[in-house]
Amino acid sequence: MNPIGAVARNTFREAIRDRILFSLVFFAAAMIGAAILFTQMSFAIDAEALINFSLTALTLFGIIIAVFLGNQLVAKEIERRTLYTLLAHPVRRWQFVLGKYAGLLLTLLVNCGLMALAFVLALSYVLHGTHPGEGNLAAALLFIFLQLALVTALALLFSCFSSPVLAAVFSLALFLVGNFADDLRAMGRTTQHVPAKLLALGCSYLLPNFSDLNVVTAASHFQPIRLSLVFLNTGYVVVYAGALLLAACAILEGRDLK
């Protein structure tokens, strides 16, 4: 019997029963539908705008769902003390963290998979099946999922030592700041002021880099996305999220559950 698997399955089961989640997915699908309607009404079928809009919507809703889920299912579990009975069973704390993460990723995969499916169907309807850059779209969708995986790991880490609300605020804030990691790095490269340069560069490397994961513009303009970027981004997220999870395990393992 693998406790990580059992926790993951239970997390998934609990998540898919939460109605708020469905309403979010529904809302995202509705927005994509509305976008199609707009492009239809304007008679100029604008694939670019549709892709741009849908991918952005997908990212935002995915992030909201990820933070919400991480918050609901981990921070609340600690705060409401459902964790007490769980940990009285043969489940170690690190197994709880990893099981939760796996369950959350699975939930996100299903949710965002549904949204992505809606988006791809809409797109192929608008473009009548033929459009360039399918590989691009696939990469863009993968990158969105990588962003979600990273945000979930952040939410999980913060859930291990702060209140549910703070955990949500922290992880959203880091997502926003992380979207400017590239700008920060560029600033660090150009500035002459040494302390500012060090600070900007240091932060840009330490912060979760969400800007490199954001290829919405490239995808909507059908610019090719290099295969190396796919590997680099995937590796980056695996390492970064792994470190976050490690920290989460260590923090939860060491603290008193009050």
Binding site: R81, Y84, V91, K258
Partner: protein, 314 residues
Amino acid sequence: MIAIECTQLTKDYPVGFWRQRPRRALDQLSLQVEAGEIFGFLGHNGAGKTTTLKLLLRLVYPTAGTARILGKPIGDPRLARQIGYLPEAPYFYDYLTCRELLAYYAELAGVAPATREADVRVALRRLGMESFADLSLRKCSKGMLQRVGLAQAIVHRPAVVFLDEPMSGLDPIGRREVRDLMLELKAQGTTIFFSTHILSDAEQICDRVAILQQGCLRGMGRLEELLAEPRPEVEVVWMPASNRPLPEAWASAAQLLSQNGQRRSVVASCELWNWLDALRAHGGRLISLTPLRRSLEEVYFQDAPPKDASGGAA
């Protein structure tokens, strides 16, 4: 065999926002619980009962001291299978039903898939939960949740069960059912360690109790020993002779029980014969004699005066 053993278990909680000071919740608790025993852990609000249980379950870590359960140190991962735990005011996953929750916990506890469903059914029946087994936990009342909590603590047939105020939130029938359940578990050889501040519950079922006051152990032992009277007394119910006036000293010491003139006096055992001789000389009638046993409540309040009382005396 010793099932639970605490040695000098101490816990300080940091309090204060900026400058954290330690606040002692439990002070060098040492106790031993025999296997197969029902052990009652008594104490006022804030005495440290929950803290002790959380220490034993490794939910919080001790500042000092050690503990062993079934001979293994409490950090031992093999231990978890043999332990059941009901936390104080339990709360569970909103979106599962009672049955699903029990199945989940049974799975985690390593109950084989083949027997899992049957075990869950047994636990549901034992706690009288059949009528709401498929209700989602969000819709359960407080007493229902308490039953769910008890059911999850026993579904995997643990050898040692820790119950934090198992009767809280239950109606009178529920309390009796839980008492019966605990006796039933004991008959099967389960060790039960439970905290409570309801003395009558403890009095009825505990083999031994420990009394905790502000984190310090104030008394521990078999109930008969704790309840044994240092200066034994006897309650005498008697009827004065109708034709003779009652001696003044007697009338004031005795309590009038009923309209027909029965009186109740409490007499020290060593004085009893003299007292009875005097009653005979007076011509009164003896109705009943009952040796007095202290109730647990008296022991408890003697050992652990309520905070406001001690404050008033100081």
